[in-house]
Amino acid sequence: SEFQDYDFLQFLGLEKAPSPHRFQPVPRILRKIIRAREAAAASGASQDLCYVKELGVRGNQLRLLPDQGFFLNTQKPFQDGSCLQKVLHFNLSAIKEKGKLTMAQLTLDLGPRSYYHLRPELAVALSVVPDRGVRGRSQPLPGALLTQLSVPAPQGPLQFNLQGVVKDRNSKRLKNLDLHLQILVKEDRYSGVTVQPWNPCDRLIRSLHASLLVVTLNPKYCRPSSRKRR
């Protein structure tokens, strides 16, 4: 008989059984956490499931939101020498779980050794934008610069703590988070010439993958941390 999984799905906080065409890439950290928990459960070891020791934060639910943004001006090189500019868009209203948000970590995965032969140094600039614009039509409105950093050996994931950004000034969780990502190729330190920006950029445009990992702590399942009362 058709298995009535409606109740269990409710229990999972889902309206209906998901039917993904393919699985999203699962970051190593999530696989590491689930494997550690399975091993602990199999050995009968007691676990504090309200603390994510691999991340060093309290929380009983982790959710990885995929980037739903778009690249800007992919047809022609940028005047300012940018390698790429991208709007990163995260639908925070998908976070259905109640409770305190204890972590919001943006991961920019630059892909495997994307520049093994070119080694250019990258400059990464990340801003919060009030309005992301429309794909192919309008640019995002300029926003507040969050961070700017140099990436000498551009490969693998870069991580940014965005916990202060996913809430508005009343500490209410935003419904959407829009960021403007700009990556420039800096002078190649070894040859002293500015490498042609389009070579590494095409590869970067293909391999760049952004995601936002949020951790929430539901007081219904997790007592406040037993901080010693003074």
């Binding site: 209906k16 039917s19 999203q24 999530l30 696989r31 676990q47 009983n60 982790l62 998908a94």
Partner: protein, 114 residues
Amino acid sequence: AAIPVPKGFCRNLCHRHQLFINFQDLGWHKWVIAPKGFMANYCHGDCPFSMTTYLNSSNYAFMQAMMHMVDPKVPKAVCIPTKLSPISMLYQDNEKNVILRHYEDMVVDECGCG
């Protein structure tokens, strides 16, 4: 001296039985990333009065079992989980979010008469 117990008597008594839940059997392997299944177990078996005096049973079960002997219309105590533990699940929802969450009371560790 221990009272000799008839053969097979223990098998009918309340105890934990193994039950592996394979998400493939439920068609959930299409959206549950990990684990592929888990050992949930279940409780089943008889709770005669003699059991309630030593198995990890509640006082309530002792009283109910005693009343069942006085008046068989009072149902016997029942075999229930007395220790449970959670599991964590990694799954993908309809908005391509990957979620890791733990669920309390998913695994039966111990059974008793309650």
